[in-house]
Symmetry: C2
Subunit: 362 residues, 2 copies
């Protein structure tokens, strides 16, 4: 069978080895005579899967002991609301850095809950870049937290150096670049991510949360929206998305076989370079949206000289078997999402296609 | 391979045919060269799956046109909070009928949001029964809605006749008996259910909602917690649990092959009778928790004459290959959950085991 060249922005490609393993044990997990989906979430087998996933995340991301690892539902979008509900006190202001549509959405939800401030934004240059450290000017009065989007899935930009804050809790939406490279978790008070790019299938939301933050949560929140609920029950307060967590656990095992985050990061550089090189060689033909120093390794965005040519490129790419190259419906253009599980060969094939296509015009 | 006799209370057994089909196309769905998990939620393929699931639900449950069908995340537990957030206005009172632990939890969340009233409860008889129609006395002032739990997973009771209300919106948590029999959807303003019993794997929450109710939703709710968000985007506001919805769609196809809800209901009666007959023949040995007229076809609860004997029964049943017969950790005892996908043979085997076990003592 021919695997498709899958450049979907999420849900996106999964490692073939992971899919094969899951397929093999789909009906009979570990000689239980049951599918993982049929296991009780309170069974030893499922608890083993959950603990294994947490343990591997802790290892891979080097997550310190004073951080909780939670698997929730609702996607990153529900986190946009849970964060201010839990951490934005009435007398405080939550700070947001705007680097794209997802940061805007996060801000919009926070505004419903309390006072907010836009600490920096690159919207005036169409979100082509990430603010520089000296553009992040923190107000004198306390911020309850500063929120950033580490990778901007739609615009194709990525933070390569996180803001240095002094005593202010940094919260990052890492939906589209978690596990793509090494990070220093201790610089963040919270990291969250929908699973459907680098972690597994959709339906699981990863939250990595510094324990100290739990003390700030007000009483009387809806039980399911209070992080303490999920900490106390180790993500088993109610029925979790068991199969999604299982798939995530397999993806983590796979990441370990790839040389961990160092191996993954190196491969991601190699993959993205193949495509960026095409753009850099003919920047008037493949016009990058992101400024060079803010480029994302995950989502590579560009347009062609005319809307007609962009459409022609997309339709021929589709014919040639490439999936998911359309830019987000809100901005159009082209976007290649080269997440961890997208193989080098897919990027080679795309680079080759770009070259061939370009030669017909230039 | 020997399939386990799976009596789990949820997540629970899935039809073998469904698992086999999903396994077969796990890596290459419909010749796309991708797993269902790798499809964009905005692709034609996934949209087809979603629409098919909605269409089959509408057909099977005969859902009128003026009802929306939503697939959400967060489980029934998040609905406990979303319902009062959306439908309990400041000047109103929400009514709850208490028939077990899940109704209590639903009430607890509503109390955080506004005024509530317990309209009837059977807690004084340890939730062995469902209130009778004449025990449901509605207050003169308007209730914003009346909430019931149609099947009490933990105590093993089930509503066999729903309350007749006059102009008050009836909302039912049908997590553990949805699709187990025919119902008249038009008597309800809202029905919801976690998928992990009769519908599919955990991680999907089904909501069936009368359109009229949407007008009552206040502004400024968190976007993800406002039902209108999901209605407007047909459950695609953010990334849904795509694989769970796909599995659910396969389960619905399977239900159709079983003679629809009529066929399913008949088989459920047959299956439950096998086990209840054992209890009725020796009610001092297999002591039913539920009163006869309130018995659940889904969750069959009983204890043995002593705690020692109960434990002996459970441990020998486990040895014999029966899974999930322990009662809920909150009340102990035994519970056999015979959801739609539990085959007749599993119930026959359990009845046989109960008989053999009993004969050693009686
Ligand atoms: C950076 C980022 N944040 C948030 C979201 C929304 O995630 P979800 O669909 O899980 O709510 C996305 C989705 O693509 C994203 O890329
Ligand atoms: C009747 C009923 N309501 C609610 C729930 C909670 O569902 P969830 O785990 O999906 O939140 C359950 C779980 O077993 C249930 O049986
Ligand atoms: Mg963006
Ligand atoms: Mg813990
Ligand atoms: Mg109950
Ligand atoms: Mg609709």
């Amino acid at each position: 069978m021919q695997r498709t060249y899958n450049f979907n922005a999420g849900p996106s490609a999964l490692p073939l080895e992971v899919l094969e393993k899951a397929q093999k044990e789909f009906i009979n997990y570990n000689e239980t005579g049951m599918s993982v989906m049929e296991l009780s979430h309170r069974s030893n087998e499922f608890e083993g899967i959950l603990l294994n996933a947490q343990q591997n995340l802790r290892e891979l991301l080097d997550i310190p002991e004073n951080y909780e690892i939670l698997f929730l539902q609702g996607g990153a979008s529900l986190q946009f609301s849970m964060i201010p509900m839990n951490f934005l006190a009435a007398d405080q202001t939550a700070g947001y850095v705007l680097t794209g549509s997802w940061s805007e959405k996060a801000l919009k939800e926070a505004k419903k809950m309390g006072k907010t401030a836009v600490i920096a934004t690159t919207d005036e240059n169409k979100y082509r870049s990430i603010p520089k450290q000296n553009e992040i000017i923190l107000p004198k009065d306390t911020l309850s937290y500063l929120h950033i989007t580490s990778n901007n899935t739609i615009f194709g930009t990525q933070w390569h150096q996180y803001p240095e804050l002094d005593g202010i809790d940094l919260i990052a939406d890492m939906s589209s670049d978690i596990l793509s490279k090494k990070i220093d978790v201790s610089k963040f008070s919270m990291i969250y991510a929908g699973a459907q790019k680098n972690l597994g299938p959709s339906g699981v939301t990863l939250v990595i949360l510094k324990k100290e933050l739990l003390d700030r949560i007000p009483d009387q929140l809806p039980t399911m929206l209070d992080y303490r609920t999920h900490v106390k029950s180790n993500s088993l307060y109610n029925t979790p998305p068991t199969f999604g967590i299982y798939m995530l656990s397999l993806v983590l095992e796979w990441v370990k076989t790839q040389g961990g985050l160092e191996g993954i990061e190196q491969k991601n550089h190699e993959k993205a370079a193949l495509i960026y090189n095409q753009m850099d060689a003919y920047p008037d033909f493949y016009r990058p949206h992101a400024e060079k120093e803010s480029r994302s390794l995950m989502n590579i965005t560009f347009t062609l000289p005319s809307e007609e040519l962009t459409q022609e490129f997309l339709s021929q790419a589709k014919e040639a078997g490439f999936v998911g190259l359309n830019g987000h419906r809100s901005i159009g253009g082209c976007r290649a999402s080269a997440y961890n599980a997208v193989p080098l060969e897919a990027c080679q094939a795309l680079a080759h296609f770009m070259e061939t296509f370009r030669k017909r015009f230039l």
